[in-house]
C-alpha cells in the first residue's frame, strides 16, 4: 500500500500520462499555438508569393477579398451565434431564400421596395429560429438543421423550382451592390468591411457584446448575473439573419439571376471559416477580426492553389488539414498538453 502511494506521490500522473509530452505555454511553441492562425496565414502568403508572383498583385488580392465577401458577411453573423454558444446551420438555405426573394420582388415591386421586403422576410425567419433556440431553449443544432430543410422547401415552393432572373438586366441600378466599385474598391468589399466594423465594435465595445460572451461562456452564471439569456440569443440569430440577407443581396446583385440552391452547403464552409478564426463551438470565445482572418485564409488558399496550377478541389483537402491543426493547437495550448487525455 505504502509502496503504491509513494510511487504515485513521487511521479504524479506519470503512470497515466506516459504518452503525453509537456506542452510549454511559453516560448515559441506557445506563441505558435496561441497565434497559430496568424502564423499559418503569413506562411501561406509567403509560400504562395514565392510560388507565383501574381499572388500579391493588388488586383488579385482585390479579387480574392471580393469573392470572399459573401461567405464573409455570413460568417460575421454566425460568429455572434457561435460565441453565444449555439450553431446556425440554416444560413446556406436562408441565403438562397434571400437571393430568390429579392430577385423575384425586384421585378414585382421595384428594387427600392424589394430590398427592405427581403430583409423583413429573412429577419422573420431569424426571429423564428431565435425564438425556438432562445426562448424555448431547443437544441440549436437540430433546430437549424430542421430550418435548413424547411427554408429550402420554402424557397422551392416560392420559386416553383424554377431559376429566378431579372427581366431587364441592363437598366436596373440594383447591380450596384455586387458589380460596381466605389473609389476603386468593389462595393461587396465595402459592404463586408462596413458590416465587419460595425459588428466588430458591437461585439468588442458594447454591453450587448459582453453579454454575448457571458451567455456563451457560462449561461447559468450569466442568468444569475441578471443577463436575459433568451433575449441575447434571440438577438444573435437576428444579427445572423441580417448578415445572411446582406449576403443574399450581394449574390443577387452580382449575378442578377439565381438557382434555388445557390447557398447550398455554404453553412458548413461558413462554420469552417469561423472555427478557423478560433471561435470555440462551446461558446464564449472568438472575435470578429479573427473570423475575418479565417474567411480570408479560406479565400487565399483557394486562390493560391489555383494560381500554382492545382484544381479547385485540392483546397478541400488543404482546408481539412488546416482546420484540424488549428483547432488542435488551440485546445492543446489551453489544456497544456498536446495529446488528449483519453486513454
Amino acid at each position: 500500500m505504502s509502496d503504491i502511494s509513494s510511487k504515485a506521490a513521487s511521479h504524479p500522473g506519470s503512470s497515466k500520462d506516459k504518452s503525453m509530452k509537456p506542452f510549454s505555454l511559453t516560448g515559441v511553441g506557445g506563441f505558435l499555438a496561441k497565434q497559430g492562425i496568424l502564423v499559418a496565414f503569413a506562411v501561406f502568403i509567403i509560400g504562395f508569393t514565392i510560388a507565383n508572383q501574381r499572388f500579391l498583385d493588388p488586383d488579385n488580392i482585390m479579387g480574392v477579398v471580393r469573392s470572399s465577401a459573401i461567405l464573409g458577411v455570413m460568417a460575421l453573423g454566425v460568429t455572434f451565434v457561435v460565441i453565444s454558444g449555439n450553431l446556425d446551420l440554416s444560413v446556406g438555405s436562408m441565403m438562397s431564400f434571400a437571393t430568390i426573394v429579392v430577385l423575384d420582388l425586384h421585378d414585382k415591386l421595384g428594387p427600392a421596395l424589394a430590398i427592405p421586403s427581403m430583409y423583413a422576410m429573412v429577419l422573420c425567419l431569424g426571429a423564428f429560429i431565435g425564438f425556438l433556440v432562445g426562448y424555448l431553449k431547443l437544441n440549436s443544432l437540430i433546430v437549424t438543421l430542421g430550418m435548413l430543410s424547411a427554408i429550402h422547401g420554402l424557397t422551392l415552393t416560392y420559386s416553383g423550382g424554377k431559376n429566378m432572373d431579372i427581366a431587364d438586366k441592363e437598366g436596373t441600378w440594383f447591380s450596384v451592390f455586387g458589380q460596381s466599385t466605389l473609389l476603386g474598391i468593389p462595393v461587396p468589399i465595402l459592404l463586408f468591411a462596413l458590416v465587419a466594423s460595425v459588428l466588430g465594435i458591437v461585439l468588442a465595445k458594447t454591453p450587448f457584446g459582453r453579454k454575448v460572451y457571458a451567455v456563451g461562456g457560462n449561461g447559468t452564471a450569466a442568468t444569475f448575473s441578471g443577463i436575459r439569456r433568451a433575449r441575447v440569443v434571440f438577438t444573435c440569430y437576428l444579427l445572423s439573419a441580417f448578415c445572411v440577407g446582406t449576403a443574399g443581396l450581394i449574390q443577387a446583385s452580382r449575378s442578377l439571376g439565381s438557382q434555388n440552391t445557390v447557398g447550398q452547403g455554404l453553412e458548413l464552409e461558413v462554420l469552417a471559416a469561423v472555427i478557423l478564426g478560433g471561435a470555440s463551438l462551446l461558446g464564449g470565445s472568438g472575435t470578429i477580426f479573427k473570423t475575418v482572418i479565417g474567411v480570408l485564409i479560406l479565400g487565399f488558399i483557394q486562390n493560391g492553389l489555383l494560381l500554382v496550377g492545382l484544381q479547385f478541389y485540392v483546397q478541400y483537402v488543404v482546408t481539412w488539414i488546416i482546420i484540424i491543426l488549428a483547432v488542435w493547437l488551440d485546445i492543446a495550448a489551453k489544456r497544456g498538453k498536446l495529446w488528449s487525455p483519453f486513454a
Binding site: M147, I151, G161, Y313
Partner: protein, 333 residues
C-alpha cells in the same frame, strides 16, 4: 403503474405511432387526392419503400451508435461517395482483368476497406487530439470530398457489371436485396449495442464521459471502433446502392449527413449521447421515406417534403423536451 412509465412509453413508441398516423393519413387522403388508382398501402409500394430507405437507413444505423457515443459524423456523405468511386473503378483495373465475375468480391472488399480506413482516420483524430468530433468530421467532410474529386476529377465514374445489377435487383423471400442488407445491419448493430461490452461501454461514454474515464473504460478505442463501424456502414450503403446504378458523380452523397441525422433524431436519439435505440432509428428512416412517398402520392409538390420534414423535426424536438422537463427543476428565466 410507476410514474413516468406513460411518458417513457410515449417516447419509445412515438415514432411507430407517427408511422401509423402517416399511413392512415396518406391512405385516406390518397383516396380523394391521388391521381393514381392504386392504394397507398399497396404491397409493392411498401416493399419499394423499404428498398428506397436502405441507403440512408444503413448509414443512419451507424450514426445512431456514433450519437449514443456522444459524437457526430458529418463526413458520411463523402465516405459514401469515395467508397462508391473505389467500388466502380476497381472493377476496371487491369490487375483484375482475368478474374471475370471474381472481381466483384474484391471490389466490394476494397470499397468496404475504404470506408473502414476513412472512419478509423476520423476516430483516431478524435481520440488522439481530443478535438470535438463535430469539428473533426466537418473538416473531413471537406477533405474526403476533395479526395473524391482528386480520384477522378469532375467526371462521373461508371461501370456496369450485369451480374452485380442482377444481384442488387434480386428478390429473396419477397424482399429486395437492399432491404435484406438494411435488416441485417439493424439486427447486427442492435446485438452489438445491447448484448456486448462494447455497446454497454458506448452508452456509458455517451452518458458521462468523465465518469466513464474514471470507471476505467478506455474511451478512445471505443470511439474509434464506432467511427470504423459508421465508415464501414457508409461504404456498405454505397456498395448496395451503386451495385445497381453503376455510375457515381463526385457530388453524390452530399447532404446525406443531414438526412441521416434527421432520421436519427426523429427516432429519439439524443445529440448529447447516452440514450437512443437502433430500432427507433429504423422507425425514423421509414417515417421520412413514408413522408416523401406519401406527399408525392397525394399530389403535393416534391418541394414541400423538405418544408414538412424540417418542421416535423423541430416539433419532435419541442415535444421531446416537454416530455423530458423535470417539473420545476429547470431554471426560470
Amino acid at each position: 403503474m410507476e410514474p413516468g412509465t406513460l411518458s417513457t412509453f410515449l417516447k419509445r413508441g412515438a415514432i411507430w405511432g407517427f408511422i401509423v398516423v402517416e399511413l392512415l393519413f396518406f391512405s385516406i387522403a390518397g383516396e380523394f387526392l391521388s391521381l393514381s388508382d392504386k392504394a397507398f398501402m399497396d404491397m409493392d409500394n411498401m416493399l419499394l419503400l423499404f428498398k428506397q430507405s436502405a441507403p440512408i437507413g444503413i448509414i443512419a444505423i451507424g450514426m445512431t451508435i456514433i450519437m449514443i457515443n456522444g459524437n457526430i459524423d458529418l463526413s458520411v456523405g463523402a465516405t459514401f461517395a469515395l467508397s462508391a468511386v473505389v467500388l466502380l473503378d476497381s472493377m476496371t483495373w487491369p490487375v483484375f482483368a482475368g478474374l471475370g465475375d471474381g472481381v466483384i468480391p474484391i471490389a466490394w472488399g476494397l470499397a468496404l476497406l475504404t470506408g473502414i480506413v476513412l472512419g478509423a482516420l476520423n476516430g483516431l483524430i478524435v481520440w488522439k487530439t481530443g478535438v470535438d468530433a463535430f469539428i473533426v468530421t466537418l473538416g473531413s467532410m471537406l477533405g474526403y470530398r476533395g479526395l473524391v474529386f482528386m480520384y477522378n476529377g469532375e467526371q462521373p465514374t461508371s461501370h456496369l457489371n450485369w451480374t452485380l445489377v442482377d444481384f442488387a435487383e434480386a428478390h429473396f423471400l419477397g424482399l429486395h436485396t437492399a432491404t435484406w442488407f438494411l435488416i441485417a445491419v439493424t439486427a447486427v448493430v442492435w446485438f452489438v449495442m445491447n448484448r456486448t461490452i462494447h455497446g454497454r461501454n458506448a452508452y456509458a461514454i455517451g452518458d458521462n464521459r468523465t465518469a466513464a474515464i474514471n470507471a476505467g473504460i478506455r474511451v478512445g478505442p471505443h470511439m474509434m471502433i464506432n467511427f470504423m463501424i459508421i465508415g464501414f456502414l457508409a461504404s456498405l450503403s454505397a456498395v448496395v446502392f451503386y451495385s445497381e446504378s453503376g455510375s457515381v458523380n463526385p457530388n453524390d452523397g452530399e447532404l446525406y449527413e443531414l438526412w441521416v441525422i434527421t432520421a436519427v433524431v426523429l427516432g429519439g436519439t439524443k445529440l448529447t449521447g447516452g440514450a437512443g435505440s437502433v430500432l427507433s432509428t429504423l422507425g425514423g428512416v421509414i417515417a421520412i421515406q413514408l413522408l416523401r412517398k406519401g406527399l408525392g402520392h397525394i399530389g403535393a409538390d416534391t418541394e414541400t417534403v423538405n418544408l414538412v420534414i424540417g418542421l416535423i423535426l423541430i416539433a419532435v424536438l419541442f415535444l421531446d423536451r416537454q416530455l423530458n422537463l423535470k417539473g420545476k427543476q429547470e431554471l426560470r428565466i
